[in-house]
């Protein structure tokens, strides 16, 4: 007779309980609750939920036809794309320089620490700091530009749509290129040195190695950077909220979707229902885009290998079963 040992499997379940409970309560439930609030007309300090009298999807229809919200979504994408492209480009170039063993650079460690510094500082503080630095009429930047003779009179940066946008884009870029650079450096260091040696033997120059060895072999990590940046960027709030007056001024130039949702739900009328509908629309947009990037990111070779392994496992188990049927347990 086969003696059954103590089963420890139940501890697998027991130790997972806190995670599962916290996840269901604090992450999954709020998603469905937000969706549900989107169907209601919840406003102000009410908590009772009633389906919106003008129809279940009234808030969603309202959001999708609301110019301010649509502009907000477009602004969010604009601000993200305009900071992501220069950010990843500079990060790639710096990463290539920092990993090139033939180049003798001084202070690599120091530069890494300094480039990453803005990323660790509270975004809220950075936003208020830059709004002070670009203050009109007597801020440090106006002071310097006048001293250097670039401008004759102080410039009101926050009264112009594009200078405000550029500033937000610059801050996002400034806060994140160091992070992206470090991530890419570790990606490049993971490339097999043999590939670079082979390129050397073939007589490739630095630029050719960068284009045909470094970039293709960091594809996965580039897409990882992109997906995390996308999810963060489409929820962009702190900088555009705090750098001007909290409503994405001037003239909604930097009113991102998150700033709009915040102002809908948590200021003025506290219109939770419309804010919830807008939130769910953003949720779907982010989900779909991440899924697309995720799909592109998956390693095709690895997926194929996984399939083969699974098939083999299945065949093996089938064999085992047949053996068991034959009574050959010890085999």
């Amino acid at each position: 007779m086969k003696r059954k040992g103590v089963s420890y499997a139940k501890y697998g379940y027991i130790f997972s309980i806190p995670f599962v409970v916290a996840f269901l309560l604090f992450q999954l439930y709020p998603i469905f609750y937000t969706l549900f609030i989107g169907f209601t007309n919840l406003k102000g300090f009410d908590t009772a939920l009633h389906i919106h009298p003008k129809g279940l999807f009234y808030n969603f229809k309202w959001a999708l036809t609301n110019d301010t919200f649509i502009t907000g979504v477009k602004t969010t994408f604009l601000l993200w794309i305009c900071n992501f492209i220069p950010q990843i480009s500079l990060a790639l170039i710096l990463a290539a320089w920092f990993t090139n063993e033939r180049m003798k650079l001084f202070g690599k460690g120091f530069f890494k620490v300094v480039f990453y510094l803005p990323n660790i500082i509270t975004a809220a503080s950075v936003a208020v700091l830059f709004s002070s630095l670009f203050y009109y009429p007597v801020g440090p930047v106006n002071d310097l530009l006048q001293k250097w003779g670039v401008i004759d009179a102080p410039m009101d940066f926050f009264n112009d749509k594009w200078s405000t946008r550029l500033l937000v884009i610059f801050i996002q870029f400034w806060m994140w290129y160091g992070y992206t650079m470090i991530v890419l450096i570790s990606g490049i260091l993971g490339i097999s040195p043999e590939l670079f040696e082979a390129a050397d033997i073939d007589g490739a120059n630095g630029l050719q190695k960068f284009l045909f060895v470094t970039i293709p072999n960091t594809k996965t990590i580039l897409l990882y950077t992109m997906i995390t940046s996308l999810i963060g960027g489409l929820q962009m709030f702190d900088i555009p909220y705090l750098i001007t007056n909290g409503h994405g001024e001037p003239r909604f130039a930097i009113q991102t979707a998150s700033v709009f949702i915040y102002n809908q739900g948590f200021t003025g009328e506290h219109n939770y229902a419309t804010a919830a509908a807008c939130s769910m629309i953003m949720f779907v947009i982010i989900g779909v885009l991440s899924a697309i990037v995720f799909y592109l990111m998956r390693d095709k070779d690895e997926a194929a290998l996984h399939k083969v392994i699974k098939a083999q496992e299945k065949a093996y188990r089938q064999k085992l079963k047949e053996q068991k049927k034959g009574g050959n347990i010890n085999g």
């Binding site: 501890y11 697998g12 379940y13 130790f15 997972s16 806190p18 995670f19 409970v21 916290a22 996840f23 604090f26 992450q27 709020p30 998603i31 609750y33 937000t34 609030i37 908590t47 320089w97 650079l105 120091f110 620490v113 990453y116 803005p118 660790i120 500082i121 509270t122 975004a123 809220a124 208020v128 002070s132 203050y135 007597v138 440090p140 930047v141 400034w174 470090i182 991530v183 570790s186 990606g187 033997i201 007589g203 990882y224 999810i231 929820q235 709030f237 702190d238 909220y241 705090l242 909290g246 998150s258 949702i261 915040y262 739900g265 939770y272 804010a275 919830a276 953003m282 991440s290 995720f294």
Partner: protein, 292 residues
Amino acid sequence: MAKEATNVVKHRNHGTGYYVFIAFVMLVCILLAVLSIIPFWIMIVNGTRSTPEIQAHAVSLLPSTHLMDNFKIINEKGSFNAFVGFRNSLIISTGATALAVYFSTLTAYAIVVYQWKLKRAFFTFIMAVMMIPAQVVTIGFYQMVYKVGLTNTFWPLILPSIAAPAMVFFMKQYMEPAFSLEIVQSARIDGAGEFYTFNKIALPIMKPAMATQAIFTFVSSWNNLFLPNVILTKGNVKTMPIMVTMLKTDIYKVEYGSIYLGLTLTVLPLFIVYFLLSKYIIAGVALGSVKG
């Protein structure tokens, strides 16, 4: 063959082109470094200058003597309170970090050590929910918290970190090669309970990974504005980033020196942490991306 030979020669004797290029690279790096430091430098220096001084010349590389005056303005007027913000942020970030690190390790342990039916499905599930954009569903979260009367308390900002999918993933990746199951088996033979084994044997082995993850959770919890700003509306529970928003509204609008000093106070703890731990933080960023 000939090509190979020239190549070898090429990188032994650098031409002038090489040195020009290196100089260019160094110049770019130095400029970027200045760009990283100068805003914070101006902030710290201006925190010691009086409003008339700043109005006359907004940029000065050397500090002045009005630090205490600015400090007085900050403390006596307006609603900005660096000490209260610091205390509240410290409580929330410490609590959230401790829970996230402990329970993520526990969950990873469940996946690595035990053989259970739903294990594979559970891990796939964790990978899938890793990317959920949390901030977007704040409305539902806020309403839930409001209904149970927990607004203006720290619980809604601490407890959710028990479920940190990305950290579970990281811990699992780290634990698999670093932790041998034989240790668990010998502990069992010695009569140790499963929970005891986790606390006394697994946790110490996981310390390096836990430290790395703790730094990042702490900093991101410390810097978070959106959710705390919604949940904590009363003055005495506000966190540091919410205190920063006060600087934009209150009387500080006309007290330039005190804005800069207030900002310096909010940033100072992070500077200290960063300069003490920068080596580990940079290594942690690199590690997280490779494992993730």
